[in-house]
């Protein structure tokens, strides 16, 4: 399954007139884990995913799945499943018939429709028209459609949108389970807290360009300068003066929060000056902070 289900984005660029939606983007997505595709709104996530799926034509560059472009895959539904937008079934058709029509077009047995309905827990609403579905039910139907061909690769664009906390937990379990089976799972989101609990790897983009790629732990650790040191001392004024002179930025309060200096540097400086410390600890940066820092000033609607 390994290389067969690897997604490779290679120097991909998409321009819409003057807007460069995706700018020479390269990254790869490995099987067997969940990869979070992160970036603020307008970063180019949707455009990238649509290019990977052959729906949007790149201005330049190439995206492949298992070495082939989406158009070159003989039975694409049996290799890649995608959930791109919540509302993508005919409003007057039942969920069940939507899936059956997809089975026919994909050359799959009709029984797959029933199987995926059970998989996503939508069997009870299967014979209702799509127009009556809640956003959460639409997302489930989207996932069911993606799972019809039992694909080794899953690509989901903001699947948590519109889901309630229970739905989000369900989605997380499902995607983690699918990755655990060895599938490649690429999930985009602008909601980072959700990603930290879900993703093994992250690809962070801003302004259409890659900002960072790696495991969640690596990316967080690589941002050591984002880490801050908490210090408590009976002599806050003296210590603050000392740390500022050493190049730190200090937030005063009952506990001093020091940025720009390591725990070790703070401890050594206090020791040399003979200032007692009652607490010295590094606040580990979380993904949210890393993300905000990495994409700082690049967010916003372009």
């Amino acid at each position: 399954m390994a290389t067969e289900h690897r997604i490779v984005v290679d120097d991909l660029t998409k321009r819409y007139g003057d807007v460069v939606a995706v700018d020479q983007l390269s990254f790869s997505v490995e099987p067997g884990r969940v990869t979070g595709f992160l970036g603020p709104n307008g970063a180019g996530k949707t455009t990238t995913m649509r290019m990977v799926l052959g729906l949007v034509q790149p201005t330049s560059g190439r995206a492949t799945i298992g070495g082939r472009s989406y158009l070159e895959i003989d039975e694409p539904t049996q290799v890649v499943g995608a959930v791109l937008e919540a509302s993508s079934a005919h409003r007057g058709r039942t969920g069940h018939n939507h899936l059956r029509a997809a089975c026919i077009a994909a050359g799959l047995p009709m029984t797959r429709a029933d199987e995926v309905l059970d998989l996503v827990g939508l069997a009870a609403a299967a014979d209702r028209q799509f127009r009556g579905y809640s956003l959460g039910m639409r997302q489930r139907l989207g996932i069911a459609t993606a799972m019809l061909g039992d694909p080794g690769v899953l690509i989901l664009d903001e699947p948590a949108n519109g889901l309630d906390p229970e739905g989000i937990r369900w989605m997380r379990e499902l995607l983690r389970g699918l990755a655990h089976q060895g599938r490649t799972v690429l999930v985009s989101s602008h909601l980072l807290t959700e990603m930290q609990a879900l993703a093994d790897n992250v690809v962070i983009v801003a302004n259409g360009s890659l900002v960072r790629q790696g495991s969640v732990a690596e990316v967080v650790a690589s941002m050591s300068h984002a880490a801050r040191v908490e210090v408590r001392t009976p002599e806050p004024e003296r210590l603050t003066e000392l740390l500022v002179r050493a190049g730190g930025v200090v937030e005063t309060g009952p506990t001093l929060i020091v940025a720009g200096l390591t725990e070790q540097a703070v401890g050594d400086a206090a020791f040399t000056a003979g200032i007692p410390l009652h607490r010295l600890a590094t606040q580990q940066a979380d993904l949210e902070e890393v993300f905000l820092e990495l994409t700082h000033g690049k967010a916003g609607i372009r």
């Binding site: 729906l55 034509q57 158009l71 694409p76 058709r93």
Partner: protein, 301 residues
């Protein structure tokens, strides 16, 4: 998997999709109902036209000139109408293709809807994920539309034939079936159904916005013939007086399809039937070509 397997899947899926929304009974209901109405109206008109002239005048004037004489200019107009319609063959052709007037519009709209629904209902993404080749999707829809056009022609022709035979035979004019001009127009009607379905697919792929495409096609179809007639009449009167100028109105698709199926001349300067067919085929090919090109180049999403 061969290209023909791919195509077969798309066609089967399109037929299934059509069956699982209200679209199919709306279309078939409209098709059957309008054919019935037009067949009956046509039958009544045919029987009037086939009456002897004296009776014809009575009916057309609703007895308004009872006892008095009909004004001569009006009488000569009536005579002109009577002469052109007083032929069992002409009436048979009209009756047996009574399904055509609205039927062609409906198959054209069906073709348009088959394509534009993908955008109106935002199912295009899903469709092109399953069948990434845009050309295969369009070809599948084309085949589906043609199949449905054949079925629509068959069912509605059955209705107009039955009703037409009842009227004609009942009025003592025989069925006129077996006369090649009549049979041929029924068969050419089938060609018209197929061409309008293809026309609709191309039109839909080109225009894509369902409302704009259906409304403009309806206007083009219903008003196009009259507008073209009036336009070329004006040209003929004020710019260039020649019979062939009048014949040019065949460039309106609605006129072309009438010219194609009619064994008798429809208007002064009306070109031969094959010209109508050629014009309709040219439009269908043009719209399919342009529509496919637009779809191939565009981004879905």
């Amino acid at each position: 998997m061969t290209p023909s397997d791919r195509l077969r899947r798309v066609v089967r899926s399109e037929l299934f999709k059509l069956r699982t929304t209200s679209a199919w009974w709306q279309f078939s209901g409209a098709m059957v109902l309008t054919t019935l109405v037009l067949a009956i109206v046509g039958g009544v008109n045919a029987r009037t036209a086939l009456k002897p002239f004296a009776e014809y005048v009575q009916i057309r004037t609703h007895g308004r000139f009872h006892g008095a004489t009909v004004p001569p200019e009006f009488l000569s107009r009536l005579r002109g109408d009577w002469v052109s319609g007083h032929s069992a063959v002409t009436q048979a052709v009209t009756l047996y293709s009574a399904n055509q007037l609205i039927g062609l519009l409906l198959v054209c709209l069906l073709g348009i809807v088959l394509v534009t629904t993908e955008f109106a209902q935002r199912t295009a993404t899903s469709t092109f994920l399953i069948t990434p080749r845009r050309g295969t999707v369009v070809a599948g829809k084309l085949i589906t539309a043609v199949m449905l056009a054949v079925v629509a022609w068959f069912v509605t022709t059955l209705i107009s034939l039955t009703s037409g035979v009842l009227f004609l035979h009942g009025a003592g004019h025989g069925t006129q079936l077996g006369y090649w001009g009549v049979d041929r127009s029924v068969l050419l009607n089938l060609v018209a159904y197929i061409l309008w379905a293809i026309f609709g697919i191309g039109f839909g792929a080109l225009i894509r916005n369902q409302l704009v495409a259906t409304v403009s096609a309806t206007i083009l179809y219903l008003v196009g013939a009259g507008a073209a007639g009036a336009l070329f009449d004006l040209l003929n009167s004020y710019v260039l007086s020649a019979t062939w100028v009048l014949g040019l109105q065949v460039i309106a698709p609605a006129v072309a399809s009438q010219v194609m199926i009619s064994p008798t001349s429809l208007f002064t300067g009306s070109p031969p039937q094959w010209v109508g067919a050629a014009v309709l085929i040219a439009y269908s090919a043009l719209f399919i070509g342009l529509g496919l090109r637009r779809l191939r180049r565009s981004d879905i999403g």
